[in-house]
């Protein structure tokens, strides 16, 4: 059932897993994992969170040992008990956020722990640097091999990880959601590198939640669901609809359920908001019942604008008014008191205290409101947390479970619950579905749509164009710190929005 690419030559598959089982105690994380990576091909692995993708990758990387099933590399049975063994066998895993040594140079990071030495036993810096330069040339990327890795973008850090893999002559490269934090240009560069690696005959596994990327880059795709292999097919013979259906096991009738909402009064009015070097002269209005999408490339200043509105960042000039009342700048408490809620971009760093319980996280923003006579009791917190956890269907064993142990989608629900519990009038969501699975994504979309229907004014920032276009009543576009476009839902075509987001001289 795994073998679909019968056209393969005599060369054995670079990597082959069949009917791999892995369980933790009584729970089966992977009940039947199968995957065949051909040499010289890019293979996509997709599935909802919890489908078993990560478990499969960890088995390949040597982090977990499988309970049963076959694992072959180039036709030979292998069995890894640690990551060093899998590296030695030519497998490299590039994670979403690479872990490099910030105080070492790019070259040193590539050769960390296995620096070439000269005949005196000292590190041969020249040889090391020459090899780094050669690898970068082969990849067609420009990266100074002598600079410190500190301050490099995540995209550049991933390139270093890839360079490391190549210097080890890895035959199998696994990229676990590499594009989640990259901008459009960076994604293009990564894909160019990936294609050149494929053309060198390496096998690549690409894990992503973004279908457009899967279709753009990959040759074949494997779908997993509930710890099981579902199907493998050439990318040219499938469609987004089919993949989604296979992933969720049911028809997703509507990924973006836009409900009719009554658009009312102006709620949030922003005028001439300026912070030198960050954003300039930003003016817009959000009415009750309206979802305003804020589109643009990563780095266009969208998050900075909403952070300034919420008061986490300062701005130099301009005004923000909520229901006519001016908002004090630089004070999140003032913004919260006037009914603004911000679900921030980075839920792990900004949205949640991962080491604390679900309860503490849900009630953190309303802790003062929960207090009676200035005192707060666990019972009050638990009651409030239970309401929001159940309304949002957070999947957790108990409310005192550390939030960090929840899946990404459930963590995002906790952040949403935390802010909805403040009963906001203006809800700002910054990348609300980044890195969460398709099913939860649709749930979040449905929730946002219903909140708008109930009269909330909503600002939604998203780097996924289909999401913005599918959800928003109105789309604002930012480029390099300025508003460069405003489109009503009917006029917001992907082309028009992308033009405003990228083209020089595009104006509102």
């Amino acid at each position: 059932m795994v073998q679909t690419s019968t056209s393969a030559s005599a060369a054995p598959p670079a990597l082959e897993l069949s009917r791999v089982v892995k369980s933790f105690g009584a729970v089966v994380a992977l009940s039947s994992g199968s995957l065949t990576l051909e040499q010289g091909s890019i293979h996509a692995l997709i599935g909802e969170n919890g489908a078993g993708k990560s478990t499969l990758v960890k088995i390949v990387a040597g982090l977990y040992r499988r309970d049963s099933g076959d694992f072959r590399l180039r036709g030979e049975d292998v069995d890894f008990s640690n990551t060093a063994q899998s590296k030695a066998a030519g497998i490299a895993v590039i994670y979403q956020e690479p872990t490099l040594f910030p105080d070492l140079s790019v070259t040193e990071n590539i050769f960390m722990g296995r620096q070439p030495t000269n005949r005196f036993g000292r590190i041969d810096r020249k040889a090391m640097r020459a090899e780094a330069v050669e690898i970068f040339e082969r990849l067609g990327v420009r990266l100074d091999p002598d600079r410190l890795t500190e301050g490099l973008s995540i995209a550049d850090q991933q390139i270093i990880e890839i360079a490391k893999a190549i210097s080890l002559d890895a035959r199998v490269l696994i990229m676990d959601e590499p594009t989640a934090a990259l901008s459009g240009v960076e994604v293009e560069r990564l894909f160019a590198v990936a294609r050149s690696l494929r053309d060198e005959g390496r096998a690549l596994l690409f894990i992503s939640h973004r279908f457009d990327e899967v279709f753009d880059l990959c040759d074949t795709v494997t779908v997993m669901r509930d710890g099981k292999y579902i199907d493998t097919m050439p990318i040219s013979e499938t469609s987004i609809d089919e993949l989604v259906r296979l992933m969720v096991g049911r028809d997703v009738t509507e990924m973006f359920p836009k409900l009719p909402a009554e658009v009312g009064e102006d709620v949030l009015v922003v005028e001439g908001l300026t912070s030198p070097g960050v954003f300039h002269d930003i003016s817009f209005t959000v009415r009750s019942g309206e979802i305003v999408g804020l589109a643009g490339l990563v780095g266009a200043g969208r998050s900075e604008v909403v952070r300034a509105i919420f008061g986490v960042d300062h701005y130099e000039s301009g005004t923000v008014r909520v229901n006519g009342a001016p908002l004090r700048k630089g004070r999140p408490t003032a913004a919260m008191a006037q009914g603004i809620a911000l679900v921030p971009e980075d839920r792990r760093k900004q949205g949640l205290v991962l080491d604390q319980s679900v309860t503490r996280n849900v009630t953190l923003a309303i802790r003062k409101r929960l207090a009676k006579w200035g005192l707060i009791w666990g019972g009050l917190e638990n009651a409030a947390a239970e309401i929001w956890a159940s309304r949002l269907e957070v999947k957790t064993a108990a409310l005192d479970a550390e939030t960090g142990t929840l899946s990404g989608g459930n963590q995002q629900k906790v952040v949403l619950g935390k802010w909805l519990s403040t009963e906001p009038k203006v809800l700002i969501v910054d990348e609300p579905t980044r890195g969460i699975d398709v099913g939860t994504k649709a749930e979040v979309h449905r929730l946002i749509s219903k909140l708008a229907q109930e009269g909330l004014a909503i600002i939604m920032i998203s780097s996924e164009l289909p999401e913005v276009l599918g959800m928003a009543d109105r789309v604002l576009v930012m480029r390099e710190g300025r508003l460069t476009g405003e489109f009503e839902r009917a006029d917001a075509t992907p082309e028009a929005v992308m033009f405003a987001a990228t083209a020089e001289g595009a104006a509102a």
């Binding site: 933790f24 205290v353 479970a401 929730l447």
Partner: protein, 352 residues
């Protein structure tokens, strides 16, 4: 609002806690320290002659009272991932101010209030440097440790003032009538309740833990991180000032070098009591038990004729062991990730 989120799946219910109450109460660092304290008391009562004498308790509490007092604000500061190394110097400064005031003919209560105010100002200097200048508290309070001590010694030179009104020195050494318990336990208990409620039962306390674990998320939740820290350093200064007055009257002695090195004993006791030096974890009952444990242990060993250098070694080993055990427990928890996965799996399975 409800209808916005209710879905066709219907309501879920949640248990508030993954473990039963006894387990949450007993399987903690705090209860381990409290248990150890009782064990030490028990063994010492049986094995060490004179340990069960009421005088032992009197002297013990008298002696560790400054540590008990200052450990309260120190706990809050360390929970926010900061530190205050200048507390002992503030004790010294306050002691000198009390002495100079009495020497100048002020009534003692007035001198004491001025000393506490000086301590409060010293604390607010720490707080301002940390909050408004944005310096790390470790660097700031190493600096003010030297600065405040320097001012204290500079004001009084190498002399000492020791003619304090007998009424006040006697009061300081007094026991609660009919018990061997020194009177200082009363203000301590009042402060302990205030700090305990503040830390464990107020929105302010909730914000301290959030700050200690993730400052950015705290700021995004509407917590004024800077101002919160500022007030903690002010509290620390005020309590240290009060401890300085107590120290002076207890030993009938105001000197610039009073309580030198006390900050390390305080921090050691707070860490032993289960507060994480990385912030975000710890509870006040554990800290109080930690101070009492160190105090009781050294008092018992001293009565058993153990020399003070050996006592230091034992206290040091205890502290290292407690820090290592914390790391060990953290390691154990990561090992149990699979167990958490199992719970999550079950939750999802019951989802239908």
């Amino acid at each position: 609002m409800t209808s916005a989120i209710d879905t066709e799946h219907g309501r879920r219910t949640y248990s508030a806690h993954a473990h039963p109450l006894w387990r949450r109460l007993l399987v903690t660092r705090e209860s381990a320290i409290i248990g150890l304290l009782f064990l030490v008391v028990l063994v010492a009562t049986i094995a060490v002659p004179n340990f069960d004498s009421p005088l032992t308790l009197t002297f013990l509490i008298r002696e560790i009272a400054p540590i008990l007092l200052i450990a309260l604000p120190m706990t809050l500061i360390i929970i926010t991932e900061e530190i205050d190394l200048s507390v002992a110097s503030i004790v010294g400064l306050s002691s000198v101010v009390t002495g100079l005031g009495v020497q100048a003919g002020w009534p003692l209560p007035f001198a004491a209030v001025v000393a506490i105010l000086v301590g409060t100002v010293a604390g607010s200097i720490n707080g301002a440097l940390v909050t408004f200048v944005g310096l790390p508290s470790l660097a700031v309070t190493i600096g003010t440790l030297a600065l405040f001590r320097g001012i204290a010694v500079g004001l009084l030179g190498t002399t000492a003032i020791s003619d304090f009104p007998e009424f006040w020195t006697d009061l300081t050494r007094m026991n609660i009538p009919g018990t061997p318990m020194p009177l200082i336990i009363v203000p301590f208990l009042v402060l302990a309740i205030i700090f305990g409620v503040l830390l464990h039962f107020t929105p302010f306390g909730r914000s301290l833990y959030a700050i200690g674990l993730n400052k950015e998320a705290a700021a995004f939740s509407g917590i004024n991180v800077g101002l919160t820290k500022f007030w903690l350093f002010v509290m620390s200064g005020a309590v240290s000032g009060y401890a300085g007055v107590y120290f002076t009257l207890l030993y009938n002695n105001a000197r610039g070098d009073n309580a030198t090195g006390l900050e390390l004993q305080i921090i050691a006791a707070v860490l032993l009591g289960g507060v994480s030096i990385f912030g975000g974890r710890g509870a006040l009952p554990g800290v109080i038990a930690g101070v009492l444990l160190i105090g009781t242990l050294s008092s018992a060993l001293r009565l058993a004729g153990v020399t003070s250098d050996i006592i230091n070694v034992i206290t040091g080993v205890l502290l290292v062991a407690s820090v290592v055990s914390a790391s060990f427990l953290a390691w154990l928890r990561t090992k149990r990730v699979s167990a958490i996965g199992r719970k999550k799996g079950r939750a999802e399975a019951s989802d239908g």
